[in-house]
Amino acid sequence: MATDKTNLQLVVNGILNENPIFRLVLSMCPAVGISTTVMNGFMLGIAVLFVQVFSSCTIAIFKDKIHPRIRIPTYTLTIATWVTVIDMVLAAYLPEAYAKMGIFIKLIVAFAIITMRLEMFACKESVTASFWDGIGMGLGFMFGMMALGFVRELLGLGTVLGYDVLGFKPLLFFILPFAGFFCVGLMMGFFNYIEARYRRAKRA
């Protein structure tokens, strides 16, 4: 079974139609835990992007060799390998970012979105398609995290990317973990509303 989408459609699919955070509602723990600022969201997004692309490609290359009964352990092993590699590379070349992100990077092993993409897509499709799907999913996750981070940072701390834009802190509880759920819910509703308006306008 091969996908009938073009590479561009695969990327756009990951960002819009199947956005990991707002559409698939996967990997909610990191989404609500870490998306307190735009920068945090961006850095975790980059790490997830790399892990997703590398893992998708690896599984797509070896898909015929993986025994169907042990595919989940194999996926976990693949993800863990790439997470470890990225962890070591970051620790060596970006020590300052690593000091902040180190603990979250190891968590990527347990991210639902990556395993799910390997199971649903990479183990059935070609390497090229898996590569672009990985890029799309990673970017979708990154943009989702950054959007969440933007709203939470602005409402919670009154800043954007660390720069003070409001001059006061409107709702401090928005940077606490539980407020992440409010934020995801409200933003999901907002995006669904926009989509419904867009479809109605198209139909009319």
């Binding site: 042990i70 070591m88 590379v89 060596a92």
Partner: protein, 300 residues
């Protein structure tokens, strides 16, 4: 049955491949990582001495590393110190467990090679001769300013609540604490992990050697005025230097205020710091006595 064999075979191959990828990444990145750690350590050490990017260290400041080894030959153990000599070169001074001088050998080592563990160990092994085995113990950095000792920097490790806590402790020549910096730890975030925060680690600052000997941990809340002084510079609060001095003097002989929900971590750090300072003071007294008696001209 055939399935099991295939599964075992393929999983083994996957694991081997994964190991190969991770091993390659480790080999490629380890050097840069070590370099980063070294650089960070140096920065932290200068920070503990009160120098930062804004106020750079003066030219007269020099850091002399003294490496301690445990030397065993057969049944006998001695402690060996690699000390930098005045001018150039190194000497390996062996001291018996009873504090008596055993012997000293010149070590052929360039100044910049002393930091590399492999080269250093090889050079010392060559100097002490065959038949003796060396085990690296720790290093101490003796800071001199214009040739006079101004501080000691002691990298140390002790057990925390979960795993080991790596710290650097700075002492002044009378063994009063100049500062404490936590380098690595794996305590729980939000509980024991708070040991890295200024309001905990800065409590050690200014404790004298006498006070340190009977330093304990109390489970009462940290007074607000003390907290404000301990976290000075973080919240941009304006506190006059007189008030800082007054509050610091008031709490100087007090015990360490434990972290909320992390009494064990707090106790572990306190006991660890006490241990490092006590052992160092004991060892330095013996080393100084031997160096003076043997007229060994060291750089510090």
């Amino acid at each position: 049955m055939k399935d099991i064999a295939t599964i075992i075979f393929r999983l083994t191959i996957s694991c081997l491949l994964a190991g190969l990828v991770m091993g390659t990444a480790f080999v490629l990145t380890n050097k840069a990582k070590l370099h980063n750690a070294e650089e960070r350590e140096h920065k932290v050490m200068l920070g503990l001495l009160g120098y930062s990017a804004a106020t750079s260290a003066p030219e007269s400041l020099a850091l002399h590393a003294v490496h301690r080894y445990i030397v065993t030959s057969g049944e006998n153990s001695t402690i060996g110190y690699l000390v930098p000599l005045k001018g150039e070169g190194f000497s390996f001074v062996e001291i018996g467990l009873d504090g008596a001088f055993v012997g000293q050998q010149p070590v052929k080592l360039a100044a910049e090679q002393a930091g590399e563990a492999g080269t250093r160990d090889a050079a010392i092994t060559a100097a002490v001769g065959a038949g003796k085995s060396l085990r690296y113990a720790d290093q101490t950095i003796i800071v001199t300013e214009n040739g006079r000792r101004s501080a000691y920097l002691l990298p140390g490790v002790f057990p925390g609540f979960k795993t080991f806590v790596k710290v650097i402790l700075a002492l002044d020549p009378t063994f009063s604490i100049l500062g404490l910096e936590i380098m690595e730890h794996e305590e729980d975030p939000g509980l024991g992990g708070e040991i890295v925060q200024g309001y905990f680690k800065n409590q050690f600052k200014g404790k004298t050697f006498e006070a340190l000997k009977k330093l304990g941990v109390v489970k009462t809340p940290l007074p607000e005025e003390y907290r404000r002084v301990l976290t000075l510079g973080k919240n941009n609060e304006a506190i006059g230097p007189e008030e800082v001095a007054k509050v610091q003097a008031q709490y100087q002989d007090k015990d360490i205020y434990a972290l909320t929900g992390a009494t064990i971590s707090s106790r572990a750090v306190t006991n660890g710091v006490k241990g490092i300072a006590n052992k160092f003071a004991y060892r330095l007294a013996i080393l100084d006595k031997v160096l003076a008696a043997q007229h060994i001209a060291v750089a510090f």
